[in-house]
Every structure is written in C-alpha cells, then in structure tokens.
C-alpha cells in the first residue's frame, strides 16, 4: 500500500512517519506541500513538526498549503488521513476534524511516554486495537491542549469521535482528557502523541519488560494497511 507523508516547511517527524509506514509493511511516498499531486497514494499522513514555525497558530498556515486542496478532497471522499501532533493541528485548522488546540495549560513544551486508552477501535487507523486497550505512545508538544465548545464535545463524545484519551496524567490540560479524535466517517484521525515513535524496538518508549521496546504505535499503520488489503 502506498502511504503518502506530506512534508511542509518546518515538518520534523516526516521521515519518522515514512519509516513507520515501511516497518508496517507499507510503501512510504514523500509528498511536497507545494505540489497539487498525491501521486496515487491510498492513505495520507500529515506529520509532526513546527510547520511555518507555528506562526499565526500551529498548523494554520500549513492547512492552506497547495496540496491541502487535494488532501481535503481525498479525505472527504473517504481516503484514510492521519494527522500527528502538528498534523492534528492542521486537520483541525482545515476543519476535517472537530476542535482546536491551544498552548499547554502549564505553558511549557512537554515530552513524556504517555499512556492512552483507545476509545474507538473502528476507525481506519485504530481497527487493529481493542476498544478500551491501553497503549503507550510518546508525546511531545507545546500547543497540545485540545479544546472545543460544549456542544461539540457533547456531540463527539456521543458519536464515538473521541478516538483516544489520556490515562493517568493529562499532560496538557485537554478537555475531557481527549488525546485524539476522528471525523464522523472514521477515515480521518488526528492525535497529539506520536505513534510513529513507537514502531521500532530499541527506539520506542520504555516498557515494563524492556527499555525503549514500545511498539504500540505500529498498529496505527498496520490497521490502515490491513483494512485496505481486505477490501
């Protein structure tokens, strides 16, 4: 399966997302923000980073990049799209998913190995998980506090659009401990933690059995690949 990873000016975890796709058995395709060409990919990842230096608001300028026209059209047509960290912010700015992000409540950048609960295991990017499963995924952000108006929160909570919730510690003050959300259709998923950094033994989060051994993130990528193969 060809999975596109879009590089914007200031993208940082783009090559890591490509590696994760490869480790999951997919074929990563580098996409450039300035093109209007998805190169025939079947799924798209908007990677983490500080696109455009977070100027204006995190993800705001990147959400208007040329390639986003094609990304939005593809997402609306049902193509799986995953937004990680800065990519999550772009999805929110592009109105592909509900909500918005503000500065972490404690006002600092934070990096930690974060436990998440999978709240919706039916989306294109989470179907390999079991509902309620707890996973450990690295988190690193400055503007990671998920917010939405009461009505939106009520709706996404009611309709299963909350994909992930922080467990144990809410690292940034997100409402309802929300770590990730999906669109109603379940093909577009955004989350603040970085699944691509929990895909390779030796370079993932520490786990009870061995250091740096966490590979819970791999399931994001195998989920989308295996669902595509089974179609």
């Amino acid at each position: 399966m060809r999975v596109g990873v879009v590089t914007f000016p200031g993208s940082l975890d783009d090559r890591d997302a490509q590696r994760a796709v490869r480790l999951a058995g997919g074929e990563p395709v580098a996409l450039w923000h300035g093109d209007h060409d998805l190169q025939g990919v079947e799924a798209i990842i908007l990677p983490g980073g500080f696109s455009y230096g977070d100027y204006l608001r995190a993800g705001a300028i990147a959400s208007l990049s040329p390639i986003m026209t094609e990304v939005v059209d593809a997402a609306n047509a049902g193509m799986p799209v995953l937004g990680i960290c800065n990519g999550f912010q772009m999805l929110a700015e592009a109105r592909l998913i509900p909500g918005a992000h503000t500065r972490n409540a404690h006002q600092q950048f934070i990096r930690r190995d974060q436990v998440l609960r999978v709240e919706n295991a039916s989306t294109d990017w989470t179907n390999g998980f079991a509902e309620g499963q707890e996973i450990t995924i690295p988190l690193k952000n400055a503007d990671g506090r998920f917010i939405a108006d009461d009505e939106t929160i009520k709706r996404i909570e009611g309709e299963g659009q909350v994909a992930f919730r922080y467990v144990g510690v809410n690292p940034n003050g997100s409402m309802d401990d929300i770590a990730g959300v999906s669109n109603a259709r379940g093909n577009v998923v955004g989350l603040m933690p970085h699944p691509e950094h929990a895909t390779e033994p030796g370079f993932g989060p520490d786990m009870p059995d061995a250091m740096s051994s966490g590979v819970d993130g791999l399931t994001f990528f195998t989920s989308v690949i295996e669902r595509a193969l089974s179609k």
């Binding site: 590696r19 300035g34 500080f50 230096g53 934070i110 370079f203």
Partner: protein, 780 residues
Amino acid sequence: MSTENDRAELIDVRPEGPKPDTTADAAATPDKHQPYEALGLKADEYAQIREILGRRPTSGELAMYSVMWSEHCSYKSSKIYLRQFGQKVSPAMTKDLMVGMGENAGVVDVGGGWAVTFKVESHNHPSYIEPFQGAATGVGGIVRDIISMGARPVAVMDQLRFGAIDAPDTQRVVDGVVQGISFYANCLGLPNIGGETYFDAVYQGNPLVNALAVGVLRHEDLHLANAKGVGNKVVLFGARTGGDGIGGASILASDTFSSGGPTKRPSVQVGDPFAEKVLIECCLELFRGELVEGIQDLGAAGISCATSELASNGDGGMFIELDDVLLRDPSLTAEEILMSESQERMMAVVSPDKLDAFLAVTAKWDVETSVLGEVTDTGRLVINWHGEEIVNVDPRTVAVDGPVYERPVAYPSWIDALQADTAATLPRPTDPEEVRAQFLQLLGSPNLADKSWVTNQYDTYVLGNTALSFPDDGGMVRVDEESGLGFAIATDANGRWCQLDPKQGARLALAEAYRNVAVTGAVPAAVTDCLNFGSPEDPEVMWQFSQAVEGLSDACLELEIPVTGGNVSFYNQTGTKPIFPTPVVGVLGVIQDVAKRVPSGWQDDGDNIYLLGTSSLELDGSAWAGTVHDHLGGRPPAVDLAGEKQLAGLLAAGADQSLIAAAHDLSDGGLAQALAEAVLRFGVGARVYLGELLERDGLDVAATLFTESTGRVVVSVPREDDVKFRGLCEGRGYPVARIGVTDASSQSLEIQDVFTVSLDELRSTHRGTLPARFGATIPQ
C-alpha cells in the same frame, strides 16, 4: 526664481542616507579621529591596522578588524596555548580524523563510509542578558557550524551552569535558558540527548550556556569553508540582515559585565528556528546536488567573518557588492551590515554554471538569496557600497593574522592555602541513621537531584535514532539504519575540582567524559572542548587557563584521542570575581551496533551487581564536602588514565559480548549516588553489601559511600553471564568486587547493615528539588 532656488537648496540638505567612508577618503584624511576604543580595539591594535593598510582604515574596515580581532573571534589570548592540541598528537590519534581543529567543526571517520562531526561552543554572555534568545541562538549557531561541514545535524546537548538555585535571579535565567533551548532545538527537529545542569553561586551573574551539536555525513559530502575558483559566485542566503546582534557575540563575549555600564540587550541576537530548519533542509539539498564549492555559516562577526575567512582559506581574493545584501531594515549603514550578527544566514561559493540550479533549490525552500560578488585572484577582499570602494584589505590580516598575546601569568596567591584545607578531616558520620540522612541530603541536593524538569522540555524522539539519552551517562544515536552503527557522546566539567587544581581538573573532566562514553558500550574516539574562564587580563585566570590546556592536551595524548575543535570563552566574571575554571570536555565514541548499548540502570531482577575499580579517601571538592559541610578545599582525586583506558576496553568488550545489562559511572556523590540512580532509572531495587569493599579498600562506611575516586563503574550482570564476566575482568586485570544483587520485588535500595530507603522515598527526594523551586508542570 528665488522659489526654485529655495527648493533646490531644500533638496540638497535632505539626508541621502549615510555617506560611505571610502578607501579614497581614508587616504585623503589620514588624521580623522576614529572610535576604535568604542569598538573594543586597543590603541596598539589600531596602530597595527594602520600599519597593515599603510593608511587609516575606513569605517567599514575598522568595523571588520574590530570584530575579527575581538577575543571571541581571534583567540588572541589563548592561541599560544591552544597550539598544544595540534602538537601533542600520535599517529593513532589522527588515523580516523578527517578534519581537525581550525575548521567550523572536527570530522571523524566512524567507518562504513560514514563520518561524524561535532563541536561545543559557548553562548554565555548573551544568555545572561537575555536568557531565552541567548540560549536559543547558541543552539542555532552551533548547528550552523555542523551544516557548514556538509553534515545533517542529528543531535544537540547543552552544558548549563547557573547561580545558586535559591538566588533571586536564578529562576529568571533557568526559565529563559531552558525554554530558549527547548524552543529552538525542538523546532529544528533535533533530539536533545544529554548535557549538564549545575548550580553554584560562583556562576551568579555569569551563567554558562554551552551548546553542543553533532552531525552525520557520508565521506564524499564533506564541505569546507573556502572560496576557491576565480569567477565563482559568492552567494548569501537565509534570513535577511537586520540590526540585531550588531557586534553581539564578538563584542559581548570579549568584555566583562560591569554593574554601572549601559544595558547590552540590543547586542543580543534574535533567533528564528523555523528559518534555520528550512535552511538546514535547503543546504542538504544543495549538497546532494553538488551545487556548492565552499560554504560558511554566519555567526559572530557576520559578513565580516564569512567573507574574510572564505577568502583567506581559498584563492585569497573576493569582490563584494554590499548593496546586494538583502536587508530587514534599509536604514542600516555599511558598517552595521558588515558587523550584524543576524541569525540563520549562510554564505556559499557557487560555480557560475551551477548558479541557476542553486537558486532553484533556495527558491523551492523559500529561502531568500542574493549574489553578492565573486572570487578573485587579487589577494584582496574588496567591498563596494553605493558604487564606491569601502573595504580593500588582505583578508588574511583580518581573519588569520590577528594579534597574538602572551598575557602575564601568575600563580594564584590563594591556591596553596586552598589546597591545604583538606576535606579529609571533616567529621564523617558513623551512626547509620546519620549516614542515611546525608545520603538523602545529597540525593536531593540541587546538583545531584533529577534534572527531568529541564530535560522533559526537550524532544528526544525526533529523527527516530536516539538509542540513549538522559538520564543515561551518555547520549547515543544510530547513524546507519542498516548496520546499526552509531555514536555516543558525553560531556563533563567539575568547576570545583578545577578551582582546586585546574590542570588536574581538566584531566578529570576528560577522564569522566571518556568513562561516560565507555559505559554505554561505545569506544571513545575524539574530543571537543569549551574552555570557560574569567578575564584573560587577570594573570591568575591566565595561569588557570594555561594549566587546564596543558592538563587536557597531555591527557588527550595519554588516552590517544584527538581534540577536533572547540571554543574558548573568556571574561566570564562580574567585577573582579571570576567563575571557577570550567573546561567543558566532550568525548565522542563509536559503537558498531547500537542494539548492544548499555543503559545506566538495573533492568532485571536477580542480576549481580559489581563495582569495577577501587576507592580511596578522596573527598576534597566532593559533592559530600560541598553539600554537607559547605566546604571547598584540598586536592582533587587522582586520575590514572592508563587505568581508564583499561576500564573502557573492558566495558566495550563486555557490551559487545552482551554480558553487561547496565553500567553507571561513579562521579559526583560517589557510590551512594550511583546506586540510587541505577535503582531509579527503571525502578528496579537492589540489595548491596559493603563488607568486602570496606576490607579491601580500608575505608569507613561513609567514605566508601561518598568518596569520588575515579576509574569506577557499577555494572549489573545477568546470572548466566557471571562466569564469563568475571573471566573478562580477570583477563584484563581490572579490580572488581561483587557488591550486591538487583531485587525488583523489594522496591527499595538496601545497603545491608547501614540503611534501607524505599523506591518511593528515593524518587520523591530525587525528583522533588527542581519542580519545588521552578514550578511543577504535571503531576509526576
């Protein structure tokens, strides 16, 4: 008629912008007064410039000489000592050295066609005035040095020294510095993999902010800073040139702070990490396309430095049209443009037939670019402004042949008394409860406490190659995803020891950084240093400096690892009180497969714990003496470099054969602290018995736990590898003693017959100190 005349006169008197001071003006008005002192030049230096030029310098030339001849850029007080690093070398030291001292950063061949480049630099003065921007641009500057070599930057680490943790100004500096580093390096997408954070009143008013960066390249991608090939274009690209940081690093870092002086804030540069991130990717694409003949980053002294250094290292001549520099502020004068230290700029030498391709790449990355001029064979650096010649100099006189001083050196009047005041006679506890209390006092003391409050603000994951990072002894990064080839890096400097004996202190800094790399399983290969000292105009400081350089260069020769580059930072003092001499030493090591890396803490239940090396009573300058007794005196510990080499060999072999599950160097706080950290690393407890040690080394319990003898490492060894491990130690003749066993279920550190401390108490003591002072972010 009169109306027209009036109007003409009006137009005439309108300012047309600054009048350039041309070389013709300089020849015509030899006696014009010039403000050389305000620019930091001494009268004899100014006279020397006049002699070189055969006339007075133009104001532009004066600006160039003043920044390039500053202490920061010219190394005029340190040069005569630094030569030792180049002289004390053996063939083994240069075998894998692709680029040594003198370039932007040293380059080491790590095998498989790969090379690693690394360097540490100071950004001390700007970080005190404006901590956030000072620290941020410190990261930016060292990263551009790495790019200049043709490498992709892959990791950073910072060596930080602040005033006393409870001093009123410390929080301002700590907050700003840590957030500045976090902001800049995180935005660049570089993992921060280690570093140091110390607190001591001696750094109050003079914090040290050193920044280290590492880059990786293929051998064939190596680039150097030279302007060769007559007719090649000189291109400036990156951020626009502004009025920020005029004379920043070069002037600020070349004078001491005085309380009554004017505020120096306008001299601090302002960083834009987004611009630098784009610049990195743009440069790497330029390198891949082989579109660059020579390249130099713009740091201290900006365009003055880049043009004169590129020309000096190349064919010797260059012509520049200064009007073509893209400006943020069109009102800047020529002198300001020459001196500006605006960040995120690079200068490249480009062959004319590749210029279009070069410009296409910079356009792709939205990096503004302008062609300023070309390489010539005239032997002169000529700069025009508004069509007139404002600079015409031999570039070597600016960049290479600056003044060299042999500053007066004086043996400090106070040092004999300080060395006589040993900590050996301070009362040591014999009551187990008191030993326990002192152990916890040390564990929670600012310098031994957990630094997660700092490091949790840094990204360690980005790039996906970080194999080890804090709190492990060294950081480790994979270079080659296929083979697992990687490097490890660690830095160290103990200012307290250096104050007692700078020569020995420098040797100790090297020995510890070397050991910290060795415990990870890597083989030490090369050294970088950042020598932080007080004013070179103080003969006692100059003595400290000369001693430290002698000690470090001798020790490098003994360990057979070369110094590949670094930086000297003088004038770290407020008033007449200099900082402790603080030679930060960074050691780079190579590991064939990062999968064999060794972390610093126990991972598994039931492993045997061994102590490698022996202990003697060496509490002078120790954390115990400082924390428990507020004492600094005596002589630093002995260091046996041949023994360190032997130990490193043993550790590398043990890691390679996968016999060692964990290894942690003993340093500040001694055995007690090392055991606590090894337990806390993964939350696996231990039972330790000191009996055999007490008997063998002849020390009491407190001395055994707190002494800071060198050449010691605690390791944990799985039971099934025990015989092999003991055989390895015997074969290599290194002292070893079994001192305990890991015990996951105990949830505690038990020193038999002395004390037991639960994991929870260890954790809260160790982790509570910094958040209590600087504010908690989230519940731990």
